[in-house]
């Protein structure tokens, strides 16, 4: 392998560049479609909390839209966008071309096929047991698994072709994410150990691992590449990044049962999950500190760079969202917050404040480098502020409302009062959600500008891996 280093590096052709650019752009574009669609569904649902008879009929009923919203956000938007970024980062940081453009296209088709089929199936009522984030019928989840396998193969092949000595840290996270998630998908789909309470324990495992071993490492992989790129300085500590990688790997898979505290799952399983939820502070704080220290002394310049601001919000979202998750795992706080809307606020703080902002930061940093076309400052500004303010309103209203909901129950009020007390908070949630939807429309416009807009097409980025990639 090493002998071919210089040869391969010099054989990066214009064709390879074009291919990588097209793959990255196509993944981003289809993901953006799913973001718009899933958010629209979310806003319709938010409206129903105030006007429950709005959107009558089976195909617009809440119980069918809800899994469509979550699954399309997870597997249409975030997964596809993150895989597109992972391809770009893998090829660039390894100073090579994609192992196989064909596989990348096959993967893209499979991801989107699964999302389309899954959406239709769920709307027709083909829901695999209301088991959160694995509601798509089995065959459709197999399509998604096939997309994962193709992606894993292609990313490994790309990194194996690298012309650098080291494997850049970002690729640790993204390679790990796709490989681990293949295992998660297989564990979730095999039926033999999923009867009754056995399935409850698998649900706890799946629910949290699908988030924490897939979206989290992929998004962290973006931070590790985009931050040094934007700041032209290496990541603060490479070793800390490696440390966070292994601790995240060992601690995260153990915390799933904290979704079922006070359930009939064995008490020791729940307690173990709580203990490791606390242990998760190690990789979370370690990783966050690493990113913030990389940005040290450069905060004042941040106002001039929206990509950097998106990433900064993403890092803060990771820090606060994950730390909140640890606290929610304590029995004393679960007693108040579990089963309330507080949980919905938490999942938006993490999937939106962390993962989605990370994707945006990555796309705004890297897509212009790939295509040579920039979005307008106005578009960036509108997107950033509407998304930030919208999600802020969303999360605060559900966190406060959810706390009141939980306290109503503890105070033994008639159940319907906990519904009535939420009304004004649900209105504010709808306001926040609408702002988020508007910001996504602006994002779609920005993506259009970065792919099809007029721009200096010549300035293709060819500068190789991020600073501090050990190269």
């Amino acid at each position: 392998m090493d002998t071919g280093v210089t040869a391969q590096s010099s054989t990066l052709t214009e064709h390879d560049e074009r291919t990588l650019r097209s793959v990255f752009a196509a993944y981003t574009a289809t993901a953006t479609f799913w973001l718009l669609f899933a958010t629209l569904v979310g806003v319709i649902m938010a409206y129903k909390f105030g006007a429950p008879d709005f959107g009558a009929g089976s195909w617009l009923t809440f119980g069918r839209l809800r899994p469509i919203h979550t699954n399309d956000t997870f597997y249409g938007w975030a997964s596809v966008a993150l895989v597109g970024l992972a391809y770009y980062v893998a090829a660039r940081s390894s100073r090579t071309r994609l192992y196989s453009a064909k596989l990348a296209w096959v993967g893209l088709v499979l991801f989107n096929l699964a999302a389309v089929a899954g959406t239709i199936a769920l709307d027709l009522g083909y829901n695999d047991g209301n088991l959160e984030y694995r509601e798509w019928p089995g065959p459709i989840r197999l399509i998604f698994l096939a997309a994962l396998l193709v992606t894993a193969w292609n990313l490994i092949g790309t990194v194996a072709r690298r012309t650098t000595e080291d494997i850049y840290l970002s690729n640790w996270y993204t390679l790990g994410a796709v490989l681990w998630t293949c295992i998660i998908a297989i564990v979730a789909i095999l039926p033999w150990y999923q009867y009754g309470l056995g399935q409850v324990s698998v649900s706890g495992f799946y629910m949290h691992n699908a988030v924490g071993m897939w979206f989290t490492p992929l998004a962290l992989g973006i931070f590790y590449y985009a931050l040094p790129k934007l700041l032209s300085r290496p990541i603060y500590s490479y070793a800390l990044g490696v440390f966070a990688f292994w601790t995240n790997l060992v601690f995260y898979p153990i915390i799933g049962a904290h979704h079922f505290l006070f359930s009939p799952l064995p008490w020791f399983l729940q307690t173990t999950a709580i203990v490791f939820s606390v242990a998760m502070l190690v990789p979370v704080w370690g990783g966050s500190a690493n990113f913030l220290l990389t940005m040290r002394g450069r905060m004042s310049g941040m106002a001039h760079s929206y990509p950097l601001m998106f990433i900064f919000v993403g890092v803060i979202g990771y820090l606060i969202g994950s730390t909140q998750g640890t606290f929610e795992a304590f029995r004393s706080l679960q007693e108040v917050w579990h089963l309330t809307n507080f949980t919905v606020g938490h999942s938006h703080l993490t999937m939106y404040g962390f993962v989605t902002f990370a994707i945006w930061g990555g796309v705004y940093t890297l897509l212009p480098l790939a295509t040579g076309k920039e979005p307008s400052q106005l578009g960036l500004m509108l997107h950033f502020w509407m998304a930030l303010v919208g999600s802020f309103i969303y999360i605060i209203s559900l966190s406060v409302g959810g706390t009141i909901q939980g306290l109503d129950w503890i105070h033994g009020k008639p159940f319907i009062e906990s519904v009535a007390d939420m009304q004004s908070y649900w209105v504010w949630r709808g306001v926040g959600g609408s702002l988020m939807l508007l910001s996504h429309a602006v994002f779609a416009w920005n993506v259009w500008r970065m792919i099809f807009g007029a721009g200096a097409n010549a300035s293709l980025d060819n500068s190789g891996p991020a600073q501090g990639a050990g190269a």
């Binding site: 429950p52 119980g63 390679l175 681990w180 324990s201």
Partner: protein, 324 residues
Amino acid sequence: MTKLMLIAGGSTLVYAVLALLMGVLPGIELSNTPPGPGVIPLTALQAEGRGVYVASGCSYCHTQQVRPLQQDKVFGRPSAPGDFAYQTPELLGSERTGPDLTNIGARQPSDTWQYIHLYNPRAVVPQSIMPAFDWMFEVVDSAPPGVTPVALPKAFAPTYGVVVPRRDARALVAYLSALKQPPFPDAGAPSISGTGASSGAPASATAPTRTGGDDAAKGQALFTATCAACHQATGEGLPGAFPPLKGNPAVNDADPTQHIHVVLHGLQGTRIGGILYASPMPPFGTILSDADVANIINYERRSWGNHGVPATVEQVAAERAKGN
């Protein structure tokens, strides 16, 4: 290449072991949990109803897990591992936007109520935000023989014809009616809420304190939580479905004995004002203490223009001691 093997292969191996330990092995072990005493499989129609429940996404708002916490006692006894033996897919849920349904078949045994509520929840619970599942019903000129039309209040009924449930609705209601917690073996007689009690005290036949029973605020809260779904906050009930308490002879009777008896032991097939009410009322004696029964009864006797003589805790205790 070795580096790639170490990072990708090594971490995947570690993850595979952890997935086995935290996902598969607990799954194998817990899948073999034997059914608890009295836990039985669903009938074919009930199982079909469970399918409708899943297809409609009911469990995104309704949990089926009662936690061993004070605030969950209104929903039944704490869920036990043996309760889930025949529950695949599991429907424990993660949100409680609506109430827990673990024991709804006992808490709300009336099919009449379930059909009205399913057709449009706001017909019985004005503040409800649950979707209407009216596509599970059809409007016909007259109900076919053997089918009872849904007893909708005027404001929610179609202008002509009657509403009858389709198969989906019948299966779903059959499933909801089957959701009853079998009592723990040492918990005595079957109860609509297991060993729990909304007041924090179990059936207080043995409770030493004979005080209270005239707390108006508590009476109103208990009425809202326990009675209003059928008898309505106005006390007027639903014509043809649930009898009114406003002007009800038993509620206005100077002797509260019959009123107490109905709350403690339930009622079915009563005739008030010439109208027959076929829908069953569950017994509340097992989940309400004597004081709370008195609180509710006295709230009903003083509200909506009623002028019944208040009941005392002693009278409730005496009625309870007599048995059904």
